[in-house]
């Protein structure tokens, strides 16, 4: 799949996943790469950018199994942005599916 296309959708995926619960970096990357074939290292730059834009914050939490983990927590601004992206995506996919399904569309 086209890499730029994936990157755009990746932003939506990260926000959608984080709306459900807080994730630590590795866990989030695994959750996404399990479903989408992408270089895992490209998720971290995206996380950093979205954090700088105020869509989520981070906190460090000790874990029982080992060293501390950096968790990502979505902000209200992030939730709003996720809604916008999700509705954009839904109407985009609906439009594409219409075009694919109907050969008479010019």
């Amino acid at each position: 799949m086209n890499i730029q296309f994936k990157k755009g959708v990746l932003e939506l995926c990260v926000l959608v996943v984080l709306c459900r619960k807080d994730f630590y970096g590795y866990e989030l990357v695994q959750a996404i790469s399990k479903n989408i074939d992408i270089a895992e290292g490209t998720v971290y730059p995206l996380l950093r950018r979205l954090m700088k834009e105020g869509y989520f914050t981070t906190y460090i939490q000790e874990s029982a199994e080992g060293p501390a983990r950096k968790y990502y927590q979505i902000t209200d601004k992030g939730k709003e942005y996720q809604k916008v992206l999700l509705s954009d995506w839904t109407s985009f996919v609906a439009g594409v599916n219409t075009l694919i399904g109907r050969e008479d569309v010019a």
């Binding site: 970096g25 270089a39 290292g41 971290y44 730059p45 996380l47 950093r48 060293p67």
Partner: protein, 194 residues
């Protein structure tokens, strides 16, 4: 690729960042490796799944550039323009303030060389003038002077000419070195990253 290799390559690709930012970014990947290793994955496999550290480094650089341009008044890629203008103005500066004096100095060097060589040639001419007087008496105006004086004067002037040429030889070498040093210095400035 090993963990150390990956982190070193990434660190290198993040060269333009501040030390604090670079540490923050590297921390994420160190943590990623730590957790992958804890799951029992080999370093090689974790690094492969992450992708090319140089490409990853570039995406941080692009984000930083875009962020900077947003802060700088909302013009997209303003910082790129700023960088281009910076290098153009440096070139412009070179043309006006360096090329001018440089050409002036080259002119002075040519003039000094011409003076030194003509001094030597004049000496030889004076030295030979008594002989010339013997061959074509009518055309040599110095023929009226004492031939012995002309011979010695000619040797003296030619000697001065030789000294002047030797002096110019040294001066030219020095001139070349100064120009070379300047060019090196300038190239460093132009190619150096912030």
């Amino acid at each position: 690729m090993t963990k150390d290799r990956f982190l070193a390559d990434l660190k290198h690709a993040l060269g333009g960042m501040t030390e604090t930012e670079r540490r923050e970014v590297l921390y994420d990947y160190e943590e990623h490796f730590r957790m992958g290793l804890a799951e029992g994955k080999p370093e090689e496999q974790i690094a492969r799944s992450l992708g090319n550290p140089r490409v990853i480094g570039k995406s941080y650089a692009i984000d930083a550039l875009l962020e900077e341009s947003r802060e700088g008044g909302g013009v997209t890629a303003a910082s790129v323009l700023r960088a281009v203008f910076a290098s153009i103005s440096l070139t412009f500066f070179n043309i006006i303030f360096i090329l001018g004096p440089f050409l002036g100095l080259v002119g002075v060097m040519i003039g000094l060389w011409a003076a030194a060589v003509s001094l030597g040639l004049a000496g030889v001419a004076v030295f030979l003038s008594p002989l010339a007087a013997l061959i074509t008496p009518r055309y040599v105006t110095l023929a009226g002077m004492n031939p012995a004086f002309l011979l010695f004067a000619g040797i003296g002037v030619a000697g001065l000419g030789v000294l002047a040429v030797l002096g110019m030889w040294k001066l030219s070498g020095l001139f070349g070195q100064v120009i070379a040093a300047y060019v090196r210095f300038n190239t460093r400035i132009v190619t150096r990253r912030k």
